[in-house]
């Protein structure tokens, strides 16, 4: 058994050594096998000193050559033996082997004791630099050190051009010939999560950089890191403005997320806590429908499945998630709230990888792989089984009392890389949600049933081309959205069906004509053609601003309408990043022009014998936007942004019976200013203040006898303002965590013009979370959340509605009381078992609301509204699950 442990551990660090030993453009990578006989490998060998291979005269390296060697590394770190395992060419094998014998390593340790090991080492030889007649390249050098200032050896510094270098014992690295311009710089090493930055180089000049990285205690293999390299970004102002990032490794360790990295977004500042089971995303006081969601440039209608338990994209496929609560750039629009963009991983992994996950709620699986160097694929899917579990273990009528969400989703991608820098991709996203419940009561008026179906699918094609200075991306996509809600409250029916065909195109071209200028131009087009039917009461479903109490039956009024809507928008945009002072100052102006066309099939309610008269409305949205980032010092960054945003009306509102077919776009203006401050090495503070106002919001017509086709009007206004704080302790040693706090006030106007609180206003949201690595695969994490309760309208009296034999509430000032505040303490425990190279099994226990605190989620009243009580949310909720990854 001990032998097995040793093998597993060595396998685990094998890819770690690869990250260390890839010294520079001429260097290498490794995989290892143990030389020691017993014990646990507690430290991988790490390259300290690299030696150039001396090639025989006349032998040149015309393209990159790799010689795979088997090295025996002694307990003192010296190479005692080297043999060629895989030839790179007869002329190169022996020089590489001789050079490898001179390499020096930090010795491996087994059970904490320096020990001899054998490793597989990939020695790479690259073409020699050409002689330069005139300085056409820049010199990039610098030093990498940890948070304590200690130089770090073995850190790979890599540019987007493919050039790279590895830091030596003194932490220094050197790249003598770097193409001028802006280049993303990636730093990677075995003891920290890869980080990226960007530098600007000028021909003939030397750029001496100093990089500080946060060192972790546990070495994570490169393959492993790739699997978890998901980044959650918040408060991103623009392409060049500082973002707050959370690595996926951290995100997956946050208590309460269930391992779904996308759900970490809910813990970021500016995001309101959603009611249990709603999954609604309210950011910076904007309505959930005002925040747009994109997956790799393809707009999707929702981010989470019903109930908010899971996102609609498998985490294994997600590279990054960006939450921009406001003030985002010109390349996105059609939303007056925030923006969520989910980036998918590039498919470039070799071999076959995947995962299988199972817990009480759902099961998922993913497979990723390569067919050859040019063809890659990924398939993932998930299906809930909570309904199945409950039927097996509880009474059959559970669904009568509570909505049990049933959902599944799937993603499939195929990429083809015809040549370097070019990628073609065909992909699809699909998601389906179902909720069905019914309640049979002794009173026929209280019997109710409800079914809800929400489906969407997208198929997209993407062409991407990257060169040294330019990036072009073209993504056409098509899709269908389908939703159907059918309910029956006593004799009162309600139905809403919507079927939409979506046609979209996003094209983007980015270039850097000068070292101080990056230009982004593109086209964002989308056409949606919807057919809709709605029947039931005008007040069903309720909308923001309705004065009502939870559970109040809608008025017993019935009407119906069938209509169709086409909404088209064609938005060319341009955005420039002016950086006249290098990375110190970025000014990012942008402009977006969007002619919008809305066609409706009917402008007045159907009249027998009268053919419908449709209408076309044209609007021109002019959306200037600008962002500014100023790196005042190494520790202080200031930022500001402004933007105008337009959002077309929702097809559901363009009905002549329940809405208004003449609705136009709503408008919002976002203003924000903030700063980031590095207080100590691992501790940073980010503060952002914002103000937004919106107009043209769709509200109910307050008149007793509104004009036909005007049940909704566009007289609503909104405003939101506040400040958010993020105090963050970056991952050092075993711990990471952050405190986030948001002070936000969001308001809307009532029909009389007075301001009242937005239905989803939460004036104070506080989150504190952290995770500690206990070692040996054990992790513990916790989260504390507090949020102000949503506002509600008090009931001060009630009248008896004799027709239904029930009381009808009489209301006080609109949204003048609140549901009591929410707080919850969550804990997550996990244990990872590594059982083969690149494979592991994670067993986790995620316990929400450990203190079993009864959090009020909604206000309810007794039969005559003289007593008030609260519907409470999560009791203590432990969820056990496991995930197998290979």
């Amino acid at each position: 058994m001990k032998r097995l442990i040793l093998t597993l551990c060595v396998a685990a660090v094998a890819s770690s050594a690869e990250g260390v030993a890839r010294a520079d453009a001429k260097d290498s990578g490794t995989s290892a096998a143990p030389a020691a006989s017993h014990g646990v490998l507690t430290k991988a060998p790490r390259l300290k000193h690299f030696v150039e291979a001396e090639l025989p005269e006349g032998v040149k390296v015309l393209s990159k050559v790799a010689v795979v060697l088997k090295l025996s590394i002694a307990a003192d770190g010296s190479v005692s033996a080297a043999e060629v395992a895989e030839s790179g060419g007869a002329a190169y094998d022996e020089p590489a082997r001789l050079a490898a014998l001179k390499l020096a390593f930090e010795p491996a340790e087994i059970d904490g004791v320096p020990s001899a090991v054998r490793i597989t080492y990939r020695y790479e030889l690259s073409p020699a630099a050409k002689a330069q007649v005139a300085p056409t390249t820049a010199h990039f050098t610098g030093q990498v050190h940890d948070q304590g200032g200690k130089p770090l050896a073995g850190v790979r510094v890599e540019l987007d051009t493919g050039e790279s270098a590895v830091s030596g014992d003194d932490g220094r690295f050197d790249m003598p010939e770097v193409a001028p311009g802006n280049h993303p710089v990636m730093l990677s090493g075995p003891t920290f999560t890869p980080i990226g930055t960007e530098e600007t180089f000028q021909a003939g000049k030397t750029y001496d950089a100093s990089y500080e990285v946060q060192v972790t205690a546990v070495a994570v293999g490169a393959e492993e890191r790739a699997d978890f390299e998901i980044v959650v970004v918040a408060t991103r102002l623009g392409s060049k403005v500082t973002a707050t990032e959370v690595s996926s490794e951290q995100g997956a360790r946050v208590a309460g997320t269930g391992g779904d990295v996308v759900k970490v977004v809910e813990n970021l500042p500016g995001v309101a806590r959603s009611t249990v089971g709603s999954g609604q995303l309210v950011v910076w006081g904007a309505g959930g429908q005002d925040t747009r969601v994109y997956v790799d440039g393809v707009r999707v209608p929702v981010l989470y499945h019903e109930g908010g338990f899971r996102s609609i994209v498998h985490s294994d496929l997600v590279r990054s998630v960006e939450l921009q609560p406001g003030g985002y750039g010109s390349s996105f629009g059609r939303g007056i709230g925030g923006l969520v963009t989910v980036g998918l991983k590039p498919l470039d992994e070799k071999g076959l990888h995947g995962s299988v996950q199972l817990d009480a709620i759902d099961a998922s699986a993913s497979v990723r792989g390569s067919i050859n160097d040019k063809w890659h694929f990924a398939v993932a899917g998930r299906r809930s089984h909570l309904d199945w579990v409950l039927k097996r273990f509880t009474s059959d009528d559970v669904g009568e009392f509570v909505p049990i969400p049933k959902y599944w989703d799937g993603q499939a991608r195929v990429t083809y890389a015809p040549r370097e820098g070019e990628t073609l991709e065909l992909g699809s996203l699909t998601s389906s949600d179902r909720i069905q419940r019914s309640l049979v009561a002794s009173d026929p008026a209280e019997s109710k049933s409800e079914s809800k179906a929400t489906d969407f699918s997208r198929v997209y094609f993407r062409y991407r081309r990257e060169t040294e200075k330019e990036t072009s991306t073209v993504t056409p996509y098509i899709g269908v959205d389908h939703s159907k809600i059918v309910s029956q409250f006593g004799a009162l029916p309600a139905e809403l069906r919507s079927d939409s065909n979506i046609y979209g195109l996003r094209a983007n071209y980015q270039t850097s004509p000068e070292s101080w200028l990056t230009v982004n131009v593109g086209l964002d087009a989308e056409v949606s053609v919807s057919s809709l039917f709605r029947g039931g009461s005008v007040l069903t479903p309720p909308r923001e601003g309705d004065v009502r109490v939870f559970g109040q039956l809608p008025p017993d009024l019935v009407n119906a309408d069938t209509w169709s809507v086409t909404v088209a928008g064609l938005a060319p945009y341009v955005e420039g990043d002016f950086a006249p002072l290098g990375d110190t100052l970025h000014l990012i102006p942008g402009f977006r022009v969007e002619p919008q066309v809305v066609q409706v099939s009917r402008t007045t309610p159907a009249q027998p014998g009268i053919p419908p008269v449709g209408a076309i409305r044209e609007d021109m949205a002019l959306d200037p936007r600008v962002a500014l980032r100023w790196n005042a010092t190494d520790r202080i960054t200031a930022k500001a942004a402004f933007g105008i945003y337009h959002q077309p009306p929702q097809a559901e509102d363009l009905t002549a019976v329940f809405g208004n077919p003449k609705l136009g776009p709503a408008t919002a203006r976002h203003y924000l200013v903030g700063g980031a401050f590095r207080l100590t090495k691992p501790l940073s503070l980010e503060v952002t203040s914002f103000y937004s106002n919106s107009s043209g919001l769709v509200v109910r017509n307050p008149l007793a006898s509104p004009a036909a086709g005007a049940a909704l009007v566009q007289t609503g206004q909104g405003r939101a303002y506040g400040t958010q704080f993020l105090l963050r302790y970056d991952l050092v040693e075993h711990f990471f965590g952050w405190l986030s706090a948001s002070l936000i006030r969001s308001e809307r106007t009532d029909p009389d013009g007075s301001w009242r609180l937005f239905d989803f206003d939460q004036s104070f949201v506080f989150t504190a979370l952290g995770s500690y690595d206990l070692g040996r695969g054990f992790e513990v994490g916790s989260r504390f959340r507090y949020s102000t309760g949503y506002p509600r309208t008090p009931v001060y009296a009630a009248s008896i509605d004799e027709r239904v034999d029930g009381y009808s509430p009489m209301f006080g000032p609109h949204n003048s009381i609140r549901i009591p505040g929410f707080y919850s303490f969550d804990v997550r425990l996990a244990k990872r078992f590594k059982f083969a190279q690149k494979s592991e099994f994670e067993l986790y226990l995620d316990v929400q609301n450990v203190t079993n605190h009864s959090n009020a989620e909604e206000i309810v009243y007794n039969y005559n509204y003289t007593k008030r009580a609260y519907i409470t949310g999560l009791p203590i909720l432990p969820v056990v699950g496991g995930k197998l990854t290979w």
């Binding site: 009480a360 273990f393 029947g535 009407n559 519907i871």
Partner: protein, 368 residues
């Protein structure tokens, strides 16, 4: 509204299960939240209350008179009934208001209130000529320079209603809102649909509660309507009460002197026996309905609801009844638990149909 009784029943069921299942049930509760038991029961009459308002006739044409009767219940025999303040509400409820009536009508007086002549628990009124424009399917007259206004939406039985409000003249009294179904015809309909509707639709008839019996599956003893000779029920006893009403024929018949009901397709011309002085059925009547969703005239049956009230003891359900799909059954049961000590108890039972018709009776029970 979630039925608290059902919720309690569900929790009891879980309590019998294995501990491991409680975890799952916790998850279930997490999905829906936990609903509290709110205090009080609508069926316990612990304060003066208007339990029902009946319009006679149940469906009234514009310009026609209507008589209202309120069932005003007192929790104790010695309580004094206040005088009732009656008023028709002439204001239309805004679309955005979820309640049943324009808020301006829930006031002691105002321009939207038309006081009614009343005597005790009854009042009379004459519906306005434009009542179908204000509350019905006829579009309100547009103001100069403005587009045509939106007509009112029908209820789920296709009806339109004139609201009124009633209130005791004491400070503690609640507003009670009653409705009179207006005979306005169908809303937006084709000519063929209008003809079909007019031919087959008959005005609503108030339902009549035939009787309420104790232990219907045993001796089916009728509850007493006499205060002097109340029904006897042991203290703390759980008894099943059954309220019943007339069975209504689905197809009108004029043979053998008629069935006494002027039904669909019958009129003075083809069935003078039934329609010279037309009456409807006092149970679950069949009627035709212009379905705005299906856009066609469809036959339907009235659902029947029974509201139970008592000054003491407790009912298993505040209300019971028969849904439309179950309308062939002309009774509804409820279980009443008598108070644990001897007392005189007053019971009221109110029967409502889908189209706004109301019938009621009161009973006396002595527990020993």
């Amino acid at each position: 509204m979630v039925n608290p009784l059902r919720a309690r029943s569900a929790r009891r069921g879980v309590g019998r299960r294995a501990p491991a299942l409680r975890l799952l049930w916790g998850l279930v509760l997490a999905l829906a939240g936990c609903r509290p038991d709110t205090e009080g029961s609508a069926s316990l009459l612990d304060a003066p209350r208007v339990l029902a308002i009946r319009s006679e006739p149940a469906e009234v044409e514009p310009r026609k008179a209507v008589q209202y009767t309120a069932l005003y219940a007192l929790p104790t025999a010695d309580a004094l009934a206040p005088a009732l303040d009656w008023a028709l509400c002439t204001a239309r409820k805004p679309l955005a208001v979820a309640g049943p009536i324009a808020l301006e009508c829930l006031r002691p007086s105002g321009p939207s209130l038309l006081p009614l002549e009343s005597a005790g628990d009854t009042a009379t009124a004459t519906l306005a000529a434009d009542v179908c424009r204000v509350f019905g399917p006829s579009p309100p007259a547009p103001k100069p320079g403005e587009p045509a206004a939106r007509p009112a939406d029908p209820d789920s039985s296709g009806g339109y209603f004139q609201p009124l409000r009633v209130r005791g003249d004491d400070a503690e009294s609640e507003y009670a809102i009653g409705f009179t179904r207006i005979a306005c015809g169908p809303g937006s309909a084709t000519q063929e649909q209008s003809l079909e509707f007019t031919k087959n639709y008959r005005p609503n008839e108030n339902p009549v509660l035939d009787r309420v019996v104790v232990a219907p599956e045993a001796d089916a003893t009728p509850l007493s309507e006499s205060e002097a000779e109340p029904s006897q029920v042991p203290a703390g006893e759980r008894v099943v009460l059954r309220a019943s009403w007339a069975e209504c024929p689905l197809v009108a018949s004029c043979e053998n002197g008629g069935d006494g009901i002027c039904g669909a397709g019958e009129d003075k011309g083809n069935c003078p026996e039934d329609c010279t002085t037309p009456h409807g059925c006092t149970g679950s009547e069949p009627y035709v309905y212009l379905d705005p969703i299906a856009q066609k005239v469809v036959p339907r049956r009235e659902a029947m609801r029974v509201s139970w009230f008592a000054t003491a003891g407790s009912f298993e359900h505040d209300r019971s009844g028969r849904a439309e799909a179950d309308a062939d059954v002309s009774f509804s049961d409820n279980t009443w638990t008598a108070p644990s000590t001897g007392s005189d108890v007053r019971l009221w039972v109110v029967l409502r149909d889908d189209r706004g018709g109301v019938g009621f009776r009161s009973y006396y029970v002595r527990t020993e």
